[in-house]
């Protein structure tokens, strides 16, 4: 996991208690007070969803909760902001899917 454990200014991470959670069916580990976005980033996952219409990959953008780019489904609750939600034990997270656009012919639609 790529994390700054001992920061020159901020010092050491206070609690190193591990928490496990699931993202798209695979289980990952994170520290107790991390946000979902940070935990996934530390596990090397940058893509949190795709654009609902065009399918382009999307992930963290503002990381302070107002751009909504990091919205994921947490425990079957959709549109939860990953950058503001703390990881809890046994959390199941699903990334956003691409929605069908029957009324709009988007090129390259499989």
């Amino acid at each position: 996991m790529t994390r700054i454990i001992d920061h020159a200014i901020l010092g050491k991470l206070d609690s190193l208690k591990k928490v496990s959670f699931q993202f798209n069916g695979k289980s990952y580990e994170a520290y107790e007070h991390e946000t979902v976005a940070a935990a996934l980033l530390a596990n090397g996952i940058r893509q949190l969803r795709v654009h609902e219409e065009s399918g382009t990959p999307r992930g963290i953008y503002c990381n302070i909760g107002h751009c909504m780019e990091c919205r994921v489904t947490v425990n079957h609750q959709p549109n939860v902001r990953a950058c503001l939600t703390k990881v809890e034990e046994g959390m199941t997270i699903e990334s956003g899917r691409r929605h069908p656009t029957p009324l709009k012919k988007t090129e390259g639609l499989q």
């Binding site: 654009h51 219409e53 065009s54 382009t56 953008y61 503002c62 107002h66 751009c67 909504m68 780019e69 919205r71 959709p78 549109n79």
Partner: protein, 91 residues
């Protein structure tokens, strides 16, 4: 403005600079109308990311002054809410 025509101005609706420019030229419309036509500023983030860029760009497109003066409105809800919460289902 950077000449990159494919520059995406509105992330949520993936509206590019070129789309905005051609729509504005074709319909010579006001800021609000450009928003209605291209959906720029109507995305999930409620215009937080692109409203300022949109206002600035629209000033450069729109020929006469008074049309461009009305800035883009802040539409409720200020944060996306599900129909469940709006409809009172608090489970």
């Amino acid at each position: 403005m950077i000449e990159n025509k494919q520059l995406i101005i509105c992330r949520c609706e993936e509206v590019t600079y070129e789309q905005l420019q051609s729509t504005a030229r074709q319909h010579t419309c006001s800021a609000r109308e450009l928003k209605l036509r291209t959906r720029a500023g109507m995305g999930f983030c409620g215009g937080r990311t692109c409203r300022i860029a949109l206002d600035a760009i629209m000033d450069s497109f729109i020929p006469d002054e008074n049309k461009a003066v009305i800035p883009l409105k802040y539409q409720p809800p200020i944060r996306p809410v599900s129909f469940g919460t709006v409809g009172g289902r608090h489970d």
